[in-house]
Symmetry: C2
Subunit: 444 residues, 2 copies
């Protein structure tokens, strides 16, 4: 998993794919293409194979092979008051990269994006990032303190906070380190590890603006320190403009209370911004006249440029996209129609357009945006294609409503060098080989 694959040019990669394609003998190829095709008849452009029904099963007969589960009673209604996925889905879980961090209490688990559909991430699969492990907090004892440059310092219980008028919004949440291992070269051999520090939920809470109005921000108040109740006292400085724009103080996620690893009972939520600014287990908001330059905004969460200087307060998660099918975990197993799918998102607003390339960025076709297209939320896109064993260099390129175009890695490195860990939002490439396998490659 830690092997860094040498970046190659598009021309090199296309040549290599052509060679691999020739190596696959004509017979092998016929066998491969035949696999999984049992349909009959002339079908529509998006048609896929269903098997022809055995002649013995007429319209009034019961289907053949009545399975065992149709001939017995299942479990009753009271056994699982809080539900779980099927045991056949036991591999659909968050996963860690063991070599990535020294300690599990300050580590990351990633969302299995290859297995997900639509735009909502179920709470049990939302990626995790802690700095001192998950604290167990009794909500009745938890308090939020709002102080500093305010007229009326206030302490809120959870009951107090839940009495304010609430808002619910579907927004993505992403760690700025998402894809960070890819700055130096294609390295991670799964979508879960290249892009899995990403999720999208319906978040419910109180606009921070409302709490600040209660307390009365003094004219010299320009920044807000948010501090967590975890052992790390994780903290970030947030400009007042953001707080007055769309920052939420959040207590629910996809309808129910926050999960422990997402900040139960209370977190900050800065839509479209670095996940780490959305302080979990939120206990303290202090209004000040300048940023605090705490550890997590100096030694960490800054972007070291080629010049040796570091970008600081690089809050916005810029326009990004990735193809989720096919991908290394989901190779192509059938010839014929294939719906190429992916996710696009922008910390600045709505996704306006996504293009897909089959040849490493030489030619592009427009994708359709599927379902809801919401600001600062995951947006699902797809393109219809036919695959008959031809090799592909698959890419997606997103454009948001501000006109920002997702950059190539070359463009991103020209602007930021390659020392950074964060904000790698460049166009990603999957190589689809003649046998349908998908690998992570990087085009320079």
């Amino acid at each position: 998993m830690s092997r860094i694959i040498r970046p190659q040019s598009t021309a090199e990669l296309l040549k290599q794919l052509a060679r691999e394609s020739e190596d696959l003998s004509a017979n092998d190829r016929r066998d491969f293409l035949r696999r999984g095709i049992t349909a009959v008849g002339a079908l529509a452009a998006t048609s896929v194979a269903g098997g022809a029904l055995a002649e013995s099963a007429g319209s009034t007969n019961l289907p053949p092979n009545e399975p065992s589960w149709s001939r017995q009673l299942g479990h009753g209604v009271v056994e699982h008051p809080y539900g779980s996925p099927s045991r056949f889905e036991k591999n659909v879980v968050r996963r860690t990269v063991p070599w990535l961090t020294a300690e599990s209490i300050s580590s990351i688990s990633m969302t299995p994006l290859a297995e997900l559909k639509g735009i909502i991430t179920p709470n049990g699969l939302v990626f995790e990032r802690y700095h001192a492990g998950v604290p167990v907090i009794n909500p009745e004892e938890h308090r939020l303190i709002l102080h500093g440059l305010v007229e009326r310092p206030l302490i809120f219980t959870m009951d107090d906070l839940m009495r304010f008028p609430s808002v619910s919004e579907i927004k993505f949440l992403e760690c700025p380190a998402n894809g960070g291992m890819e700055w130096k070269g294609a390295q991670m051999e799964a979508l879960q590890f290249t892009h899995g520090m990403l999720s999208c939920c319906e978040w419910t809470g109180v606009p921070l603006k409302v709490l600040l109005e209660e307390a009365g921000v003094k004219p010299e108040g320009k920044w807000i320190l948010a501090e967590g109740a975890d052992g790390a006292h994780m903290s970030r400085s947030i400009p007042l403009e953001k707080a007055l724009d769309d920052t939420l103080v959040v207590y629910a996620q996809n309808g129910e209370r926050l999960r422990p690893e997402q900040g139960y009972p209370l977190r900050l939520f800065n839509p479209g911004w670095e996940g780490n600014t959305s302080i979990k287990w939120l206990r303290r908001l202090e209004v000040g006249d300048q940023p605090w330059y705490h550890r997590e905004e100096t030694s960490k969460y800054t972007d070291l440029l080629a010049s040796g200087k570091a970008r600081k307060f690089s809050f916005v998660q810029e326009t990004n996209s990735v193809i989720t099918y096919p991908c290394p975990e989901k190779p192509v197993k059938h010839s014929g129609y294939i719906e190429i799918e992916g996710l696009a998102w922008s910390g600045r607003g709505r996704i306006k357009q996504v293009d897909v390339s089959f040849d490493g960025g030489v030619n592009w076709v427009p994708a359709r945006l599927k379902g809801l297209v919401l600001p600062k939320a995951l947006t699902r896109f797809s393109v219809d294609a036919q695959w008959h064993g031809q090799p592909w260099l698959l890419q997606a390129r997103a454009i948001d409503e501000t006109g920002y175009v997702q950059p190539t890695l070359k463009q991103l490195r020209a602007a930021r060098g390659s020392n950074s860990i964060y904000h790698k939002n460049s166009i990603h490439t999957w190589k689809v080989a003649a046998n349908g396998e998908v690998t992570n490659v990087q085009i320079t």
Copy 2:
């Protein structure tokens, strides 16, 4: 829980509330109103109480009472690959009504609506209804058979189905028996039991229309029988018009695969229609020229009218709404500002308007619709109010985009009698007493 409360007129109930209010002595009332109010200063109209910060805690000091969880490390990242709610939320679960059904394998569990926010129901809390328990189905062995009056009978594996272009839509799902226990009188003393056979998820699957195009429906094909793989072989007849409109064959729910109790690995989904038509564990679709009149559409899921005749194929879940805060599980505990919240939904399309009454339907104020207003989805609404111990008879009344106005119980009974179990979508009343307690009452 099974006590049926005598229905009363609005005038009777208002008189009774006035008496209760007088009984509460002036001293008691002052004590009650003072409870929970520790705020300072003149606050906005939607203001709620935060506690004033102790003088000893200045803006540069750490807050007092550093809790134990802030002074230690929490659990690490690998222990919970599929997440669960906090143990402090252990009471937020689906619940059953023991006397409602004879057997748990053919029973119902209900969603804790009082605890939920926004419009998404997390998968672990979506209400359950089985007819022969939950079968354990291996998705690799599962097949969907499409036959009957078609040109090309087909058998689909799960892989086949997932190759078709998918759609993802946020839609409500409701059992037509929701509120059924209330036809005769106010009976259930919790929102979870009056309205908890209701949920809203993002569903992903293939339009049934696409599968029917693959198979080629013969001109005489007018109805479709959908049959489940559970031991009950639960089945319903669906008109072809619906199938060609918006019916989906669904394999994912809020991003991940269907939960076992929701039909894993495959179910039908008829947006806006009776939940039981959205056949779970879907194994067979047969095209015919007339409905099948199976057990679940004759002896069950028909509506017995006062005339002795029964309405059949009453598919649409008509416009409905309910106030979710306050409610019996969530009494009013503070005086002053209160955000009255609720949910509205219509099987015919979008919610256009919701009104709220504080006096049992004599006067109405318009509610605001919060967040996304999607067709055939739950829509959250709210009204700002001030409460100072005055008694309320709280009601909500929804109107959908077709102009359908949610009826009173009197109107509903005039049209349908009171023998039915299903489709009770009449205006619901919560009585808020002078001490903040909320009970279920019925206005005749």
